[in-house]
Symmetry: C2
Amino acid sequence: MNPKIDQYDQKILQLLQEDARMSHAELGRQVHLSQPAVSERIKRLEASNIIRGYRADINPKALGYEITAMIRVSTQQGRPYAQYVASCPEIIDCYTVTGEDGAVMRVLASDVEHLQRIINELNAFGSTSTAIVLTTHVSGKAIAVPSLNENKD
Amino acid sequence: MNPKIDQYDQKILQLLQEDARMSHAELGRQVHLSQPAVSERIKRLEASNIIRGYRADINPKALGYEITAMIRVSTQQGRPYAQYVASCPEIIDCYTVTGEDGAVMRVLASDVEHLQRIINELNAFGSTSTAIVLTTHVSGKAIAVPSLNENKD
DNA sequence: GTTGAAACAGAAGTGCT
DNA sequence: AGCACTTCTGTTTCAAC
């Protein structure tokens, strides 16, 4: 799909997903390239929008969010939830999906009262179905380059 | 909840979620603190596990993942899917939740055949329900400090 | 909290192979 | 494409305030 991605790029992408603040020199040491070579590759990966940016990974619980919930909303036509979703800080993921449930969201709340307030507001857009997250097995796992995965044989 | 988080920390966390590679000097300019003061605060936020790390944000589509799907798995007792989930590179999120569906996963696939292979493997752990993502409204929205949000009045 | 200095590390540009 | 070299910027630690 993207013929320009080689093993060096794959490894750089992997390392930057583990630690986005790793220096170009350190990346070069790990992939056996010089620092300018790494810098040039990263610039190209950023320019081609393969690297969209670099984000600090924040621990919600450490900030007081005791509850994570997955809320499915069977959205009704003509109810524009996109704007609400963008403005509601507790909704950190929101996808429109196929099937009965028009939207799936991941929501953070300090406590059950807080969660209920959010559910009440989401009910304006359709019937909701809430599932509390008990365990987060993986969240934001590093993305691998698919072609390099499949062409290993 | 965390009495040590003030407006400076909140702003630093916000900026680092937008650009994790921003320099401490630049952060200092934006929050009106000196660079050593910013460095000390970040060190404290990292030590207290509020900042868990820094991740490159990779564009799945640019790497050839044309399909994102939400798969719900009604897991049956005694089927340990956690290990499979960890080892399957296509599963990038996985949560155990309350309710009928024991697990909710976000999955990347190159095409429908690729998606079907993953669903087939997940069927070993229980009956699955797959919804294709049509629109990603928000994914990984920046987390705000809840106490500072609510105590604005 | 601040500024300023020194030592070190990293980023970016240049030229060369 | 790659590397070596230089220069500028940033980080860290220290001092004194």
